[in-house]
Amino acid sequence: MHRDLPLDLSITRKLYVKINSQWVINQVPNAHDVLFRTLADPTRRALFERLCREGEQTVAALTAQAGVSQPAVSKHLGLLREAGLVRHRHDGRQTHYRAQPDALAPLIDWTGQMAGFWQSRFDRLEDLLKRMDQ
């Protein structure tokens, strides 16, 4: 892995140290981190996916299929709400939840960037193919 130390290693290090010296940043997780952390849990992700797929649901309906207790479901839904991934409304004794798929936008951010990278490289590839002999 270190056969060829890249020239930018010092730059990378500096960046790293700089990040580490600013612990304040790490103590206040940004929206990205919250989103990733929230969706890293399989139960929460399943709840969110179900709300995206099937639309608004009551806590009772979600619990019936979640495989965990109602307090656990409520706790997960609370965390999804804090991350902005779901919204809720009260209707009598029932609480209804619905997904907010727009909250996923920051998550597709870097995959979008990587896709953008490959798209531009494929542009170059096509330019090259035009120049190449058959």
Binding site: M1, H2, D4, P6, L7, D8, I11, T12, R13, L15, Y16, I19, D33, F36, R37, L39, A40, D41, L107, W110, T111, G112, Q113, M114, A115, G116, F117, W118, Q119, S120, R121, F122, D123, R124, L125, E126, D127, L128, L129, M132, Q134
Partner: protein, 143 residues
């Protein structure tokens, strides 16, 4: 949460290219041609061959050839080592070529990104700005 490292994501880019698979295969496997569209490299189309891709931003990717099926499939690892685990990238890039009536359907899948990945491509962000302008177009095409 402890096993979140097993959760991965992929990026897929597909394109119809009006050239035959054999010609694209050359562009994907000959070092001087790879350099013309991707990065400088010491690639060889041999399974197990280890090589580096050097980006114009100065970063170096560690790669190893995983699969070579001439004119059809090429796969290699695309790793970027970083002290901070959330910047560390271990991914696999797979190119799949399918002949069509008009040329080739080229598919690139890069898999292995973790949900907590901080940077998809490792290294500094500098040098990649050119792609962000294109990103807008890409995203506009997405929906």
């Amino acid at each position: 949460m402890s096993e979140q490292a097993t959760e991965t994501r992929s990026v897929v880019v597909e394109r119809e290219i009006p050239h035959p698979p054999a010609k694209i295969w050359r562009a994907l496997t000959q070092p001087h041609l790879i350099e013309a569209w991707l990065m400088t490299n010491d690639f060889a189309p041999v399974v197990g061959h280890r090589f580096n891709l050097r980006g114009d931003w100065g970063g170096t990717l560690d790669c190893e050839v995983l699969a070579v099926e001439p004119n059809r499939t090429l796969s290699y690892t695309w790793n970027f080592a970083h002290d901070d685990e959330t910047y560390n990238l271990k991914s696999v890039v797979t190119f799949t070529l399918t002949a069509t009536r008009t040329g080739t359907h080229l598919r690139m899948e890069q898999s292995g990104f973790r949900p907590n990945q901080k940077q998809a491509y490792g290294g500094a962000k500098s040098g990649w700005q050119q792609f962000f302008a294109k990103l807008e177009q890409v995203l506009a095409r997405t929906d």
